[in-house]
């Protein structure tokens, strides 16, 4: 058995107790193909060259690591912002879709499917499909299509077909179900670009690896600025957990670095309207992996709530479940109100309007004390343009 670390899952895709590939036989061939080939493809020199070139020239990497002077003063510590909001399409999601479209090309797949909640991953997928001239179908909950009209328009303009998920709660969870069903029905020509570190093995590891460029850059950038490549803390918001996985990745086995994940508490962890999976979830299986899952006593999946559609997911990636379970990660939460207040605070103090998802990470600065000589990196995962309709109601 392969040794596992916080970073590296077992051969079967387990991080501690969490992970695996709980899939019906109809998906076996495609998932097995990915399992057996993703590491070889990703470590291939030509692949890496093309991936790195696109990250640089198309996505706009490296993204800056910015010392947030006024925010640092406000909280009497040192706060660095990793500017993923400056990526093409406005969020970190594109790091993964660039990687997966290149992988799909090498697997000979001609058709791309994806799920999306707020629409950021859908836009990032539609973008790389346009870049490569590949057919793109995005599943999106019927309710989210109504709530996120601008991103639906962007996807359509980019040439993607947006298919409403009308089953169940008609949100991200159900869009993911529909995408998986599409993959079952199209086993030969289709690659499924999952947007987060969820799904059956190898997706959690594969997506984390594509997003790990975030922490790779953090290390050398922090060293350039301060002379040391290890911060004291790295903070990120967590829904499924892709920006957090990328921000934590190269620090996972550096035990001096505290990893702080911030979940969406919605109206409050115990309000019945929350998405704080580690606080409310129990071990369970959803979308092909065993992780922590918000569910009823009978094992039916519960619909979460968050003001930010990107954190509105009843599960969490198995890597994060293991960080929580083992105590390696610190899991905090912020309510809708706290996130909104933080979005306005960061906008005014630093001239950066963050996405509502990202605002959750900033919100906990108020109740998690830092020392004056701490070096805290916050992953600023996305920009707030998509959330203007919500922000406008609170001006």
């Amino acid at each position: 058995m392969m040794e596992t670390t916080y970073q590296k899952p077992s051969a079967q895709g387990y991080y501690g107790k969490f992970g695996g590939a709980y899939i019906p036989e109809m998906l076996h061939r495609n998932v097995e193909e990915l399992q057996s080939r993703y590491l070889d493809i990703m470590s291939d020199a030509a692949f890496q060259k093309e991936f790195r070139a696109l990250l640089k020239d198309y996505v706009g990497r490296p993204t800056p690591l910015f010392y947030a002077k006024r925010l640092s003063k406000q909280f009497n510590t040192n706060i660095w912002l990793k500017r993923e909001d400056l990526c093409h399409t406005g969020a970190h999601k594109i790091n993964n879709t660039v990687g997966q479209i290149l992988l799909a090309e090498r697997l000979g797949k001609k058709r791309i499917i994806a799920e999306t909640g707020a629409g950021q991953h859908g836009v990032a997928t539609a973008t790389v499909c346009a870049l490569k001239g590949v057919e793109c179908i995005v599943y999106m909950g019927e309710k989210d299509i109504e709530r996120q009209a601008p991103n639906v328009a962007r996807m359509k303009m980019l040439g993607a077909k947006v298919v409403p998920a009308t089953s169940g709660s008609k949100t991200l969870k159900d869009a993911t179900n529909e995408a998986i069903r599409d993959w079952i029905n199209n086993p030969n020509d289709t690659h499924y670009i999952i947007g987060s570190v969820v799904g059956p093995h190898p997706y959690p590891d594969m997506v984390a690896k594509f997003q790990s460029v975030i922490s790779e850059e953090m290390r050398w950038q922090l060293k350039e600025h301060t002379g040391t490549d290890l911060p004291t803390h790295v903070m990120a918001c967590v829904g499924g957990g892709s920006n957090a996985a990328g921000a934590f990745y190269h620090f996972l086995d550096e035990l001096s670095v505290q990893l702080i994940a911030v979940e969406a508490a919605g109206h409050g962890v115990n309000s019945g309207m929350s998405a704080a999976t580690t606080q409310l979830g129990k071990p369970g299986i959803l979308h092909g992996s065993k992780s922590l899952l918000m569910q009823t006593a009978d094992g039916q999946v519960v619909e979460p709530h968050s003001i930010s559609a990107g954190l509105d997911y009843p599960g969490i990636g198995p890597m994060h479940a293991n960080l929580f379970d083992s105590g390696r990660g610190i899991f905090l939460s912020a309510t809708d109100e706290e996130a909104l207040a933080a979005a306005f605070e960061v906008s005014k103090l630093e001239g950066i309007i963050p996405a509502l998802e990202t605002a959750h990470a900033f919100a906990v600065l108020h109740n998690h004390p830092f020392k004056t000589d701490d070096q805290v990196i916050i992953c600023l995962s996305g920009r707030g343009d998509k959330d203007l309709a919500t922000y406008m109601n609170h001006l």
Binding site: Y22, I23, M26, R29, V301
Partner: protein
């Protein structure tokens, strides 16, 4: 000998397994459905345990699960309903469902109680073979339950052999790459079923997905030991106020 094995020793052709979601159309219709199926020629009964996120199922079975859950169906309720089922039901009973509700119930407790109420076998499509071999298979076996794996037209010959060796009762041959109830015609189903037949597997083979009437049932039975009907029966039950009459008419249409 298990009831399923016994069935296939007596009957090796045109074996009919019919699926129905437990608690559908009404919470308490489970036993009426089972009786009607047995009385009208079903050789096995597959009861679906409803789940909020049934990945392998198409819209019809999904919808029946949503209704069953809204009716209040749980594993606990199902076991209570099945407590006296064996007084009237002689055909093998299989429980089909997804792993999460079973895990929450407690896997070992689930197997024990299933066996205690007279369940014969399990189909859990998202229980992978690795976890079956390392963790769950022994518990299933210790409770005397059969476990049925699925194979599809995409499953390699080597893997079919492996899944056959792990299965007891029968092997579930999915007719095409699809979710349940798809309209895909059973392309190349003959070649695929002939391949399975030529492999001389340990288990009898029942064909499922896309079997909806006499014609598709006959096609499946030409090369396999029988077939499984789900979606078409759920559709027939929708809105009925007479489960017995609806089931009789439906099965007559398939078996005549």
């Amino acid at each position: 000998m298990s009831r399923i094995k016994d069935l296939f020793e007596r009957k090796s052709n045109r074996v009919l397994n019919v699926y129905c979601t437990a608690g559908y159309p009404q919470l308490n219709s489970t036993l009426d459905v089972m009786k009607a199926l047995q009385d009208n020629g079903a050789d096995l009964i597959e009861l679906g345990m409803p789940y909020s996120d049934p990945l392998a199922d198409g819209p019809v079975i999904q919808h029946s699960s949503t209704i069953a859950l809204a009716n209040g169906m749980t594993i606990e309720t199902l076991f209570a309903q099945l407590k006296d089922a064996r007084k009237e039901i002689n055909v093998p009973i299989i429980l089909m469902g997804y792993m999460n509700p079973v895990l929450q119930y407690g896997f070992e407790r689930f197997c024990k109680e299933a066996a205690a109420v007279g369940v014969d076998g399990l189909i859990l499509p998202d229980l992978p073979e690795y976890e079956f071999e390392t963790e769950y298979g022994a518990i299933i076996k210790a409770n005397g339950l059969d476990f049925i794996f699925l194979v599809t037209p995409e499953t390699s010959e080597e893997r079919i052999k492996k899944l056959d060796s792990l299965s007891t009762g029968f092997l579930y041959a999915v007719s095409s790459s699809s979710t349940t109830g798809s309209d895909k015609n059973m392309t190349d189903v003959n070649a695929y079923l002939q391949k399975l037949k030529a492999m001389q597997l340990n288990n009898p083979v029942l064909v499922g997905f896309g079997i909806k009437d006499k014609q598709t049932f006959d096609t499946a039975c030409a090369h396999a030991n029988g077939a499984i009907i789900g979606t078409a029966y759920i559709k027939a039950l929708e809105g009925t106020n007479n489960v017995a009459a609806t089931t009789k008419a439906f099965l007559e249409g398939v078996l005549k």
